[in-house]
């Protein structure tokens, strides 16, 4: 028997609501198939199953909100006998009971950091139940401790806002989620920042020729060149393609580029382009287009949200020249690209106009050093000078 549990779709997710099952009891299911749709603070996500077999039990009802890790379904793997009634599985759907492990605890920094939020256990639990981010609260207890009273007051204020539309509510919750993740990042991750200006004349010339050959439905965007170049450069500096878990670096064998996508109603998500180093530019472009469309339609898949090993963000559309990015924990690096702009450039002793882009790296100093970060940017530059080989 295999258990299908509420997955964590990002470091900041602590619980999710089952929207609907995509399979019924008795249905066969293959690894990678969508088994359920789950609503998180960010979006409705189609969740993939990691086991092949027969859906034997569905333990969670649509509409139920359960913590990450809760067993939601039982899958009988191929070759296993059906469960008989004489051996009942004693797995009941768990309601959300933060008393065991209050979800907000995850947003708090490790106690060793010395800046752990001063909040009483009871206040922390209540904050989790009411969906209040305690990091913003002013503690009135001894030594500034956030107490039950402080959370109760905040809850009263929050409730006073009255009923809001679902969209606005979701947006507010997304804002809160981003706030928690980014605050945690800035609290815990010692960022260092590097940037370099890259001559884009060769890349753009190649892109113009290439797009001239391609039908309109298959044209490439320069962002795809950036994503592919980052993926390939990571092969040379693999420590940037890692996660920081429980106080140590866990390097990732595969390169899943999280691509920051701003949502039209506000907020952003950074779902993964899986194995970006192994996909051709055409394929990567198709997948990128599909990802943006689904991100904005709110139909991302679980693996896309949980898998990124690094994030790439391009803010050039708004005319930004340089990005100073905040790493999305537990990732350890973020690569930013600004706008491609024409600038005077010295080549062979002559000043010439050239399209250039500023690429920046925000990296976790616990995991890598400036020297390795510098090598990464140099490799990125080198790759963008040979666009045909991307």
């Amino acid at each position: 028997m295999a258990e299908f549990v509420m997955p964590t779709l990002g470091a900041d997710m602590t619980e999710g609501t089952l929207v609907q099952w995509k399979k019924r009891i008795g249905d066969p299911i293959a690894k990678g198939e969508i088994i359920a749709e789950v609503d998180t603070e960010k979006a409705a996500i189609e969740v993939e199953c990691h086991t092949s077999g027969i859906v034997e039990q569905l333990l969670t009802k649509p509409g139920d909100k359960v913590p990450v890790g809760t067993v939601m379904a039982i899958i009988r793997e191929a070759g296993q006998p059906a469960t008989t009634s004489a051996q009942p599985r004693n797995i009941a759907p768990q309601p959300v009971t933060p008393s065991r492990n209050p979800p907000v605890a995850k947003t708090a920094p490790a106690s060793s950091s010395g800046t752990r939020l001063r909040i009483s256990p009871a206040a922390r639990k209540l904050a989790a139940e009411r969906g209040i981010d305690p990091t913003g609260l002013q503690g009135t207890g001894p030594e500034g401790t956030i107490t039950l009273d402080d959370v109760t007051r905040a809850a009263t204020v929050a409730a006073g806002v009255g009923t809001v539309t679902t969209a606005a509510e979701r947006q507010a919750r997304m804002r809160q989620t981003i706030a928690a993740a980014m605050a945690r990042s800035k609290r815990e991750i010692p960022h260092y920042y590097l940037s370099t200006t890259i001559d884009m004349s060769r890349a753009l010339a190649w892109l113009t020729t290439e797009n001239g050959r391609r039908p309109v439905t298959e044209r490439l965007l320069v962002s795809v060149l950036f994503i592919k170049a980052v993926a390939l450069a990571l092969r040379q500096v693999p420590e940037l393609n890692a996660l920081w878990k429980d106080g140590e670096t866990v390097k990732s064998e595969r390169i899943h580029i999280g691509t920051a996508i701003s949502l039209r109603q506000g907020g952003l998500v950074a779902p993964a382009l899986h194995d970006a180093d192994r996909a051709g530019l055409g394929e990567l472009m198709q997948r990128f287009q599909d990802l943006v469309k689904r991100a904005r339609a709110g139909s991302l898949r679980s693996s896309e949200l949980s898998d990124p090993t690094i994030t790439v963000t391009s803010l050039g559309e708004q005319g930004v020249e340089t990005v100073f990015g905040v790493i999305y924990p537990p990732q350890v690096a973020l690569v930013g690209f600004g706008k491609v702009v024409e600038r005077p450039w010295v080549a062979n002793g002559l000043i010439v106009p050239r399209p250039v882009v500023t690429a920046s790296l925000s990296a976790d100093h616990r995991v890598s050093d400036g020297h390795r970060g510098g090598l990464f940017l140099a490799e990125l530059d080198r790759l963008l000078q040979e666009p045909q080989s991307l």
Binding site: P102, S120, P121, A122, A123, R124, K125, G141, P142, T147
Partner: protein
Amino acid sequence: MNITYREAVRSGMREALQRDPRVFLMGEDVGRYGGTYACSKGFLDEFGPERIRDTPLSESTFVGAGIGAALGGMRPIVEVMTVNFSLLALDQIMNNAATLRHMSGGQFSVPLVVRMATGAGRQVAAQHSHSLEGWYAHIPGITVLTPATVTDARGMLLTALEQPDPVFIFEHAYLYSMEGSLEEGSIAVEISHAAVRRIGKDVSLLTFGGSLWKTLAAATQLAQEGIEAEVVDLRVLRPLDHDTILTSVRKTHRAVVIDEAWRTGSFAAEVSAVIMEQAFYELDAPVARMCSEEVPIPYPKHLEEAALPSAEKIAQAVRRLLR
């Protein structure tokens, strides 16, 4: 009816002696002297030397004799003058009284009741001011009672005599002269629950024995400042009534444990751990302890007072939790 704690203990023993011929009292000075704390005054005349037995100054011997009598079917009440001297009987208590039912596979019962005075506060210096009931509460196989009221002082003794296993009763020496009102018609009392002595919502004050009255005084003082403290009298240290403690803490979200023993390894530490294990997410402040200073209890009055918990110190510990 108002009586002193001493009279309550005496009336409990007298009633037991009257109604059950198997009951007898044994200990140092319980006969001719009438008891160190005068709890058996007049008993020698009333019940005779067979049932009111003065013993030699040898705690190990007469506690051992009590165990033997209990094994033989009697219902002995052994008075060990104070907890300070009970250390001389510790081997009998720990290795015999507490273990014989287990060692005999349930064949032997030791229906023994041992009473002793405990605590400090009467200027009797470092060797005679111990509070070791928490030590005894460590031992499986015995029941540990700490009556703080006249009703419990009388009633717990009667219930203890009905138990098939050893029961240790710790009477705070400071309480013997205290007057209290004996609940009408009370005879035996139950010995499995803690009791809420004052209802409040802001903080739980958990205590037992002689500290109960200091704690109630602190609660009265705090009430004038707008802090409503709930006072829980643990009454029974083993087996400890977790439910009453946790129910109170789940209501108030704060707890101070008051224990006249030294803080390190104290019974207060046990209560604190119970709360941490079972009600951690209910806590709005760390559990605090108010115990004695970690020194041999001094003889001079002002130093002794400085070493022991007081109503003011308890109130101060509560204020620190709230502000």
